[in-house]
C-alpha cells in the first residue's frame, strides 16, 4: 500500500467517524439549562422524545447517585442482575431470611429504580406476606411499615406515578385499618414517631392519611397529566371518600362519638356527593355522573308521560293485549307472592313479567299522524336517557353507591350515634362483667337501631349494617345466656331477625320442603311427608346456626313456626308407628324453649317441694306435688313432642318418677295404670 493510499484511507475513516459523531450528536445530545434553570437547547431527537414521553430521568423523580453509579457499572447487564437478585429474594423469603431479603430488595431497586411493578409488588410483599410470617403483632406492624418505607422511597424516585401513590394509600389505609390486628396496628401507627416524624398525632390516622395519598394520586392525574393505571376510574375516584367512611367506622369501633364522629361522617357524605358529581369515563367512552340518576329518572318519567300522551292510552291497551296472550301457568305464577314461589313458578313469573313490559318503542309506534314524528323524537331522547340510566346503575352497583350515600347521611344522625355508642358501652360493660349494664345498654341500642332502621331501611341493603346488628344480637344473646333468660317479648329488633331469616338463601328450599311435606301429609303419604319434614328440620338447623339469637327466641313468630313443624313431624312419625329419633337436629333449640318455659319452672318447684315433703314424711302432700309435676311433664311432652327423643331429659323424668314411685311405695301403692308418662318409662327403662 502506497503512502498516498494510506492517507486516503485515513481520510475516509475520519470522514466516516465525523459523520457518525454528527449523527450521534443529532440523535442523542442532551437538553441543557442555564445556571438559573431556564430552558436552553431542547437536546437531540432522543432527548426530545424522552421529554415528550416523560421518560427523562429528571422528570421521573429524584436521582440517586448510588443507583446511577450501579446502573452505569452494570454495562447493560442490569436486567440479568435484577433477575438473579429477584430469584435470590424469593429464596430468602422461602428460607425466612428477612434481613437478606430486605437487603436484596434494596439492591434490586438500586438497579431498577424506575421499574414500578418492582416497587409496587415488593412493598405489598413486605407489608402483607412478610409481616404475616411473624408471630408478634409488633413485628408484624414493623414489616407493614417496612413496606410503606419501601414505597416512600419508590415515590421519591418516581414522583409522577399514581400507581405507587395509590399503593401507598392502599397499604396505609387497608392493611393497617382492616387487618385482624387493626386495633393494635392503628394504635402503633399513631404512636410511631419514627415513621411520622414531626407530623402531629392528631393527623396520624391511617384512614385519613390513606385518603390523602389517594387524593395526591388524583392530583397527579388531574393536574400533571399522569396516567392512571391499575384500576378503573370508577374505583380510582371512589377511594378517598371510602377512606373517609372507614375513618368514621373506625372511630365508632374505638368508642369515639359526638362531634368528631359526626364531622367524620359529614365529610364522608360531602366527599361521596362530590364523587357522584364527578364526570367518570366509562369503557364505552361516554362519561357518567353517579349522582345524576335521580335527575335522569325524573326526566325519563317526564318524557314517558309526554309519550303516553302522544300515543293516547296505548300503554293500557298494549298491556291488556299482552296479558291476554299469557299462558294459564304464567298467570298463576305471577299471582303467587314472590316469597312463596317455587323454582318453576319463579321462572314462569319472570317470563310473564318480561312479556308484560310495554316498551317506549311500542308506544311510539302507536302514535299516529303528526304525533308520530314527535313520538319518534321523544323516543330517541328516552332511549338515550334509558341507556344513561342503565350505565349509571351498572356502575353504581360496582361501588354500592346508594348504600354508602345513605349510610354517610344516616351515620351522622344523633340516633345512629346513640345506637353505636350504646353498643360500644354495652360491649365494654360485657368485657368488664357488668351484666346488668350490658343487658340494659344492648336493649337500648336495639331500640335505637330499630328507630334508625325504620327511618332508613335502605342501609340494610349492604351486609355491613346487617353485621353490625348481628354483632349486637350475638352479644345480647350472650348476656341473656349468662342471666339465663330469653329475649323479652317486645324486643324491638324482632322484625329484623324475621327479615334476616326470611331472606336466608335456604328459606325458599325450606318453604318448599314444608309445603311438599304438608301436601304429602294431607294425601296420607307419610313416608314422603316424613322425608320432607326431615329435610326442612335440617334446613332450620342450618338457618339457626347462622342466626343464633333464634335459640333464645329473638323472633317468637319464627320460633313458633319451627315448633309447629316439629309437632307435625312428630305426628307423622306417630302415624307411621315410628319412634321419635334420638339424635334430633333441633334438640338444642327445643331444649332452650323447654328450659325457659313456665311449665318447667312449675315442675322443678313441684319436685323440690315433693322432696321436702317426703323427707318430712308428708306423703300425701308429696304425692300431690308429684302429680302436679307429672301433669306438667305430660303437657310439655305434648307441646314439645321431640322431648321423647332427648335421652338426658327423659332420664331426668325417670329420676323424678323414681321419687314418685318411692312416695307411692311408702303408701303401699303401685304406679297408676295407665301412667301418663308410660311412653318415657317404656323407652328408657322404668325408675327404681
Amino acid at each position: 500500500m502506497t503512502r498516498q493510499q494510506r492517507f486516503t484511507r485515513k481520510l475516509i475513516y475520519l470522514v466516516i467517524i465525523f459523520g457518525l459523531l454528527m449523527t450521534l450528536y443529532y440523535l442523542g445530545h442532551p437538553s441543557t439549562r442555564s445556571a438559573e434553570g431556564e430552558a436552553g437547547s431542547p437536546g437531540g431527537v432522543l432527548a426530545q422524545m424522552r421529554t415528550e414521553e416523560k421518560l427523562d430521568q429528571t422528570q421521573l423523580g429524584q436521582i440517586d447517585p448510588a443507583s446511577e453509579t450501579l446502573r452505569l457499572a452494570m454495562f447493560g447487564f442490569r436486567g440479568i442482575a435484577a433477575n438473579l437478585l429477584g430469584l435470590k429474594a424469593i429464596d430468602y423469603q422461602r428460607t425466612k431470611d428477612w434481613s437478606n431479603l430486605s437487603a436484596t430488595l434494596n439492591q434490586i431497586i438500586k438497579i431498577q429504580p424506575n421499574f414500578l411493578k418492582v416497587w409496587d409488588h415488593q412493598a405489598w410483599n413486605l407489608s402483607y406476606n412478610c409481616s404475616a410470617e411473624f408471630d408478634g403483632y409488633k413485628d408484624r406492624y414493623s414489616w407493614v411499615v417496612k413496606g410503606l418505607d419501601f414505597l416512600k422511597k419508590g415515590i421519591e424516585y418516581n414522583e409522577n406515578e399514581p400507581l405507587l401513590i395509590r399503593s401507598m394509600g392502599r397499604i396505609t389505609s387497608q392493611k393497617i385499618g382492616r387487618s385482624d390486628e387493626k386495633k393494635q396496628f392503628r394504635r402503633l401507627f399513631i404512636a410511631d414517631d419514627d415513621y411520622h416524624g414531626s407530623r402531629p398525632k392528631s393527623e396520624r390516622d391511617n384512614w385519613l392519611l390513606g385518603k390523602q395519598w389517594y387524593l395526591n394520586a388524583h392530583e397527579l392525574v388531574r393536574n400533571k397529566g399522569a396516567i392512571r393505571t391499575g384500576t378503573s376510574p370508577l374505583l380510582f375516584y371512589s377511594e378517598p371518600p371510602m377512606c373517609q367512611m372507614q375513618y368514621g367506622s373506625a372511630l365508632a369501633e374505638e368508642g369515639v362519638f359526638g362531634e368528631k364522629a359526626k364531622k367524620a361522617w359529614s365529610d364522608a357524605s360531602d366527599d361521596w356527593i362530590q364523587y357522584g358529581e364527578r364526570d367518570i369515563p366509562t369503557p364505552s367512552g361516554a362519561f357518567i355522573r353517579l349522582g345524576d340518576i335521580e335527575r335522569l329518572h325524573k326526566e325519563y318519567s317526564k318524557l314517558i308521560n309526554e309519550l303516553d300522551k302522544l300515543a293516547g292510552g296505548a300503554r293500557e291497551k298494549l298491556y291488556k293485549r299482552k296479558y291476554e296472550q299469557l299462558t294459564k301457568a304464567q298467570i298463576m305464577a305471577i299471582k303467587v307472592p314472590e316469597k312463596l314461589q317455587n323454582k318453576d313458578q319463579k321462572a314462569l313469573a319472570y317470563e310473564a313479567k318480561e312479556l308484560l313490559t310495554v316498551t317506549p318503542d311500542e308506544i311510539a309506534r302507536q302514535a299516529t299522524g303528526a304525533n308520530r314524528n314527535k313520538a319518534n323524537k321523544l323516543l330517541e331522547k328516552i332511549e338515550y336517557i334509558d341507556m344513561d340510566i342503565k350505565r349509571i346503575k351498572r356502575n353504581q352497583g360496582v361501588v354500592n353507591y346508594d348504600y354508602w350515600d345513605l349510610r354517610a347521611k344516616v351515620e351522622q344522625t344523633d340516633k345512629m350515634l346513640e345506637a353505636r355508642q350504646s353498643t360500644f358501652e354495652a360491649d365494654k360493660a360485657m368485657r368488664q362483667g357488668n351484666l346488668p349494664k350490658a343487658n340494659q345498654d344492648y336493649l337500648h341500642a336495639a331500640e335505637v337501631w330499630n328507630l334508625v332502621l325504620r327511618e332508613s331501611p335502605g342501609i340494610l341493603s349492604d351486609k355491613a349494617t346487617e353485621d353490625d346488628i348481628d354483632h349486637l344480637l350475638k352479644q345480647y344473646s350472650k348476656t341473656l345466656e349468662q342471666t339465663d333468660e330469653l329475649y323479652p317479648d317486645n324486643f324491638p329488633l324482632t322484625w329484623f331477625v324475621s327479615f334476616v331469616v326470611d331472606h336466608n338463601d335456604k328459606m325458599s328450599r325450606l318453604i318448599q320442603a314444608v309445603n311438599r311435606g304438608d301436601e304429602s301429609f294431607n294425601a296420607g303419604n307419610y313416608p314422603e311427608a316424613q322425608e320432607r319434614y326431615s329435610r326442612a328440620i335440617e334446613l332450620w338447623k342450618l338457618i339457626l346456626a347462622e342466626n343464633t339469637s333464634m335459640y333464645q327466641m329473638s323472633d317468637p313468630n319464627t320460633g313458633s313456626r319451627i315448633l309447629a313443624l316439629v309437632r307435625r313431624y312428630a305426628k307423622t312419625l306417630k302415624l307411621m308407628g315410628m319412634p321419635f329419633p334420638d339424635r334430633f337436629a333441633l334438640r338444642g333449640f327445643v331444649w332452650m324453649q323447654v328450659e325457659h318455659s313456665q311449665t318447667m319452672r312449675t315442675i322443678e318447684g313441684a319436685v323440690q317441694e315433693a322432696h321436702q315433703l317426703q323427707s318430712e314424711n308428708k306423703l300425701p302432700a308429696a304425692e300431690k306435688e308429684m302429680d302436679k309435676a307429672i301433669f306438667a311433664w305430660e303437657s310439655l311432652l305434648e307441646r314439645y313432642p321431640s322431648l321423647i327423643g332427648d335421652k338426658s331429659i327423659c332420664n331426668k323424668i325417670i329420676e323424678q318418677m323414681g321419687l314418685y314411685r318411692k312416695i307411692l311405695e311408702a303408701q303401699n301403692r303401685p304406679l297408676p295404670d295407665p301412667f301418663p308418662l308410660q311412653e318415657v318409662l317404656d323407652r328408657y327403662g322404668s325408675s327404681k
Binding site: 448510588a66 428477612w98 430486605s102 437487603a103 413485628d139
Partner: protein, 632 residues
Amino acid sequence: MIVETQIIPFSQWFIPALSIFGAVVGILLLIIAFAGVVSGTIRNGPRRAFVNIFKTIGSTFRDIFTMSPRRIRALAWLAVKDSIRRKIVVVFAVFIILLSFAGWFLDPGNDHPLRLYITFVMSATNFLVLLLVLFLSVFSLPTDLKNKTLHTVVTKPVRPSEVVMGRIIGFSAIGTFFLVAMGLVCYLFVTRGLNHTHQVDVSSLQAVADAAPNDQGLFPMRGRSTFNSRHRHTLEVNASGKGSLEVNKDHWHPMVRLKGDGKKVEDYAVGKPEGMLVARVPVYGKLRFYDRERIEKKKGVNVGDEWAYRSYIQGGSLASAVWTFDNIRPEEFPKNIEVEMTLGVFRTYKGDIVSAIPGNLYIRNPKTGLTVERPIFLAKEFVTDVQRIPRIIDDPDNVFYLDEKETGDNQSKTVVRRQAPPELANKAQFDLFKDLSYDGSFEIWLQCLDQDQYFGVAQADLYLRAKDAPFYLNFLKGYFGLWMQMVLVVCIGIMFSTFLSGPVAGIVTMGFLVMGLFRSFVIDLGTGNTWGGGPVESFIRILTQQNVVSDMEESFRTTVAKTADGILMFLLKAVSHILPDLRQFGASDYVAYGFNIPGDWIAERGLTTLAFAVVLFLLGYFFMKTREVAKQ
C-alpha cells in the same frame, strides 16, 4: 443461624475422606498411565511404551522429591515481581473505592446490620481476589512461553515441578498479601461502620409502675433512646442509676445516670454498642421428637411450610422436641448455662393476637429420667431468645420422672411420666451436673403449651452457649476460608495454563470457578433435577417460549435435543464430581451471624484444599513436562 448440614467431627471425617481421596488419586493415576501406554504403543510400540512409562514415573519421583526450596523461592519471587509489573495494585484501588461507596448500598436500617456488613465486605474481597489471582495465574505461563522468557528459565537447571510450584507459591503469596491488606481494611470498616451511640430521650422517661424509689426519691424509669443509625432502643434504668438500652438490631448499650435528677440529656452516659461483634461458641445437641402420644419420632409435624428445615410440635399435647447434649463439662459453664433458641411459631388459628405462645423447657437426666421443669417462657419468633439454666436450680415448679419404655408393638420408644417421691418432689435445690446429668449428658425438652398452636425447631435452633471466642479471631478464620478458595483458583489457573493459551485457560478457569461456586446447581443440572431439561432443551424452550413444567411434544427435534442433553449432562455430571465445592470454603455466614468457626471446619477444609492443591500441582507438572519447552 441456619445449619442445614452439620459439621462432622474431624476424627470421624478424616479416615473416610482420606480413603476417598486415595481412591480418586489412584484412579486418576491409572487413567494417566493407561493413556500414556496407549499413546506410547501407537507411536513406538508396546515395549517402548512401557519403558517410557517407567522412565516417566522415575523422573516424576525425582522431579517431585528433589525439588529445591531455593529455586522454588526464586521462581516464586519471579512470579511476584511479574505480578507487580502488571500493576496489580489497581485491584486494591478498586477495592478501596468500592468500600468508600459501600455506605450508599448498605442499608443501616437493616435488622441485622453485622450480617449485611460482613456479607458485603467478604463477598467484595472474595470476588476481587479470586479474579485477580485468576488472571495472574492463567496468563503468566502462556505469556512467558509466548515471549520466550520461560526459555531463559528452563535453560537453567530448573525442574518443571519447580516452575509449577514456584508459580503456585508466588501467586498465592500475592493473593495472601491482598487478603491480609483487605482484611485489615474491612475489619476497620466493619467495626467503625457499626459503631454508634445514642442519647436518652428524656421526654420519654416514665417511672416504672408500682416500683419503690431510692433514698433520694428517684424511681426506676423506662423510656427510649434517640433515633440514631436508623434505629432507637427502649431503655430501663433502675433507681440507683444503672441501666441499659435494650436489645435492638442485635446489640444493646450500657448506660448510667451520672448526676442530677435525670431530667436532662447530659445526666446520662450511654456506652458503645455491645453484643454485636461476637463469635458465639455453640454446643449443639442431637435432636429427636416425640409426637402427641409421646411416641419417639425422627421428625415432627410438617405444617405445610415449603421450607422443610424446621419440624413442628403440637401445642397443648405431649409432643416434645428433645435435644441431648453429651460431654458437657461443668468447668465450661461455671455459673449457669445459657440456652439460646430460635423458634418458629405456627398458629392454626389466630387466637389471642396480642399474647405470644407460651412454651416450657424441662431438663432431664437421660440415665435416671429425673426431670425438672423450668418456668414458662413466651416464644419470640425469628429472634434468638436466651434462657438461663442455673447450675443450681432452686425450687423447680415440677419434679417428676420420664421413664423410657418400648411401645406396645415394640416398634418404637415412648416415655411415661412418673411421680417423683416426696423427698425429691419437695427438694429445694437440684444440681444440674449432679442430679440432672449423667456422665456429662443431659436432655432439654421443649413443649408448646397453647392448644393447637405449634413450635417449629431444627437441630441447630437450640444450643448451649459456651464462652465466646474473640470476634477478630473469627474474622481471621473467615478470611482463611477465602484464602483457601484463592489457593484453589491459583492451582486451577496454573494447571490449565500449563497446556492452554492464556485466554482459553482464563475461560476454562472461570468456568471452573463459576461451577465451583454453584456446584450443587451444576450437580442438579447434570442429574436432571432442574426444571426445563438439559441445555439444549432449555434453549429450545426459551426460543419457543415454552414453560419449563409441561413436557415437550414428542417429535424428532425433541428426541435429538434429549439425546444431546443426555451426553452433555453426563459430561456435566462427571465434571461436577471432581469440582471443588468453593462455597464450602466460604465461612462468611459464621462470621456474619456471630458464630465461631469451629476447629473441625478449619481442619477439614484445610486438608481438602491441600488435597486439591497436590492433585492440581501434579496435573500441572505432568502437562508442563509434556510441553516442548520443558524438555529442552
